[in-house]
Assembly symmetry: C2
Homo-oligomer: 290 residues x 2
Amino acid sequence: MNRLEGNWWSEPCEEHGSAFSLKVKSRLHEEQTPFQKIEVYETEKFGNLMVIDGFVMLTSRDNFLYHEMMSHPALYTHPAPKRVLIIGGGDCGTLREVLRHPEVERAQQVDIDEGVTRAAELYFPELCEFNDDPRAELHFADGIRWVKEAEAGSVDVIIVDSTDPIGPAEGLFNEAFYRDCYRALGGNGILVQQSESPLLHMRLLTEMHGAMRTAGFPDVRTLQFPQPVYPSGWWSATLAGKGGVLDQFREVDARNKVYPTAYYSVGIHRAAFALPPFMQEAFDRVRNQA
Amino acid sequence: MNRLEGNWWSEPCEEHGSAFSLKVKSRLHEEQTPFQKIEVYETEKFGNLMVIDGFVMLTSRDNFLYHEMMSHPALYTHPAPKRVLIIGGGDCGTLREVLRHPEVERAQQVDIDEGVTRAAELYFPELCEFNDDPRAELHFADGIRWVKEAEAGSVDVIIVDSTDPIGPAEGLFNEAFYRDCYRALGGNGILVQQSESPLLHMRLLTEMHGAMRTAGFPDVRTLQFPQPVYPSGWWSATLAGKGGVLDQFREVDARNKVYPTAYYSVGIHRAAFALPPFMQEAFDRVRNQA
């Protein structure tokens, strides 16, 4: 039987009996923080790889997919995204994409673990290009509590760029947290959260839709994109709109953007929200039950 | 370092330093045919897995993505797809999707290796549901020669559902073959071919675009879709249109289709052709050089 021979780093997804592996040259970094274990490897073909508690966080080669799709669709959907709050996102890649938007006046990044950001500064410096931007605020604190204590209506877009819904990130995937987000958001506010794999995690996805609706958001939509280094290589983000207008976006602004993107475009924005029947039918059932 | 422990079957992609693995219960089938080695495994969570020469061909769980996207976009783009020729496709999954179209009067499947079809009948019987359809013809022959000898203008859609461009399938990825396809196709004829991963194989993709255009096809377009068990989990198919009208499709027919699809829909059809900037720019360069 085919087995991997040589210097492979592997992430098994035991629940779904699949695994993804990258061939590595060396381990650059290993650190047990108060919250989690952070490792960085130099891979053969994917640049650097950051791993937290045994799960792939990102690689140099393909993180553009995730970071662009976690930020631009939500920011162009909001009519005037001035105040952005990123929960998690310690690698600063989402922050970078957010700060490419000239409308943004303040971007707060709240990650519980400063170790992630320090490792990113060393091994993914390209993602940290905007960390010194005067609009950027890097806080190392509990994101759940941060949102709970945020002033009502004080944020335009909340981006939940977290690890999987186990461990420190578990409390970011439930109705109580979504209620706090709803309260913290302004009138047209948008919450966007990474929402795992359409092939593997439809149960989580439908639960998120239900919890976001119950928390008060009138419109909830999922977008899909490829993300090769995450389980199944197929990933999603879910948007919840306080104003309920997620099917329109600032198309002219998106078309005239002055910064480069490798994946995001006006066409991709629209395309990403087109869902296959098996997903659409599952979300329709949730909506009809709400 | 994380290593896979236990009963994992792995496909390393050495060129890109990545690997995909599935946990298996047992090997159901092993056969060396005159052309290649065919294996079938029972996996823990992905149903049955067919492997040819060490490469994943398909699993029960996620082959719907590939088979739907290899057939429905091309068939709904053709104004009247009556005569369909499948080159490769021995697992019969593409044939099944093709024969769901009531317009199709004749579907010829030409795979060089009868062993693939016999194994599919045993281990993927759901894909072989239409093998006894009176419109289906299963031929076991060399697809390159078949197309070369086909009567000019005798086919409406050619679907090249082959293995990777090494080994028996190598001759399916070049200008000479595309010229033969062009000749065999009728006036509005469409060629569609699996075209590997946008993340890993852009060089092949741009070469295909160039070769298809040089062979005479005025319009060439690539569509993308998730395919978790193939390298990177992100896959593509490339269409070449003899009539040059690949941006329109029989939307009403697609919307009113009476058979179920899990991934394909009118929205997905349109979305799949939306390409990220890095792909669009590469294809634009090819077109401008032509």
